[in-house]
Symmetry: C2
Subunit: 222 residues, 2 copies
């Protein structure tokens, strides 16, 4: 049995690919998904389907309610922007402290499971400019984590892996396809129709479309 | 109207005193309490009573379930140790990543409220040896927080205040009394009886007793 790893899995392209990469390294995967009150909660269903197709030892879906905090188009009564330029400032779909909260839970669960490796699908190339996806943020979280726990005091070193950090969306998709990822199971849209159809116009839909186009591959969802 | 501050409030002596200190500095207080599945959930009722006696603008009790993670005598089916030496290693009442999770939520809520100052009652003198109460941990969290948010990118600087960090429990109690804190409202015991009586023998009860004794004050709960 390989070394264990914890993977944050939202159900989108990036986290699914990060999971496939961890799996391809022979790691025994514990996947962690958050039902956080997100507008696009159907991504949780995607995550559940994805773990069935990949070798995942355990999948935990933790329910928290970031609507109590709000302040984002994904967790508050704020409209999701459509057709807005990407990469000009931090968009209103930014969820305050989301990755910090997710990684904190991951840190706790990893400690209980005796896991020293956490994977996150953060990307700083074809992304929406969220501050908590930047390499300097991830490095600071890792440093903090290595002071936070009993495991750290006992000399275990937590490593935060962000294997997609410097890949384009097209490179991510090509990598995932080479690993056998079924992207038809993933969900990207921030603001799907009640029937679950992607809007095609939010940042996330457009980054996905650009990625498949540049990868020269048809999006199985399109 | 004073500057706003967010205070983590468990309902125990330390966080209540930290809140009173923030209030005495003329800050407008937003208090944050977690109903996290703790064995001693009556501390949440204490927190609710405390905010009624102090000037608190808003009190939010966030429900999360750290029993999904477990790994602690406070959140799992593990007995709370009694009459054990304090300060020899990290006890089983340590909750994996608890302060990191709490501070992450605080970070998110602070950002939404436009708050740059977070108070935590962490203490590194008369404490149980929890790694996430140490000054080096708090400094690392603050550093990470200042890379995590939109507020940080926009140049706002988050400051983490731990005014009790280097005080003895007796000094904390004297400080609180001088500020008018009613310690009869606080709760400390990790493992109270079903009727809510403190056990008197867990670390938390004993640190409380030692504090009042050394302060030369009667504990209104005793």
């Amino acid at each position: 049995m390989g070394k264990k790893a914890l993977v944050l899995l939202s159900g989108g392209i990036d986290s699914t690919t990060a999971l496939a990469i961890a799996e391809s390294e022979g790691l025994q995967i514990f996947a962690l998904t958050f039902d956080y009150g997100q507008r696009h909660s159907q991504e949780i269903e995607s995550a559940r389907k994805i773990v069935e197709t990949l070798k995942v030892k355990e999948h935990q879906v933790i329910k928290i309610n970031l609507r109590e905090i709000g302040g984002s188009a994904l967790t508050d009564e704020i409209e999701v922007p459509r057709d807005q330029p990407i990469g000009k400032g931090i968009p209103i779909t930014y969820v305050p402290a989301r990755n910090t909260i997710f990684l904190s839970y991951a840190l706790g669960w990893a400690e209980v499971l005796g896991i020293n490796d956490i994977f996150i699908g953060a990307n700083a190339i074809d992304y929406s400019g969220y501050p908590d996806c930047r390499p300097e943020y991830l490095a600071a979280f890792e440093k903090m984590a290595n002071l936070a726990t009993r495991a750290a005091v006992e000399g275990k070193r937590l490593k935060l892996h962000a294997p997609l950090l410097n890949l384009t969306k097209a490179e991510i998709i090509r990598k995932g396809i080479s690993l056998g990822v079924d992207y038809s199971l993933t969900h990207s849209c921030y603001d799907p129709s009640p029937e679950g159809r992607p809007c095609g116009r939010c940042d996330s839909c457009r980054l996905r479309r650009k990625g498949f186009q540049e990868a020269g591959v048809d999006d199985p969802l399109a």
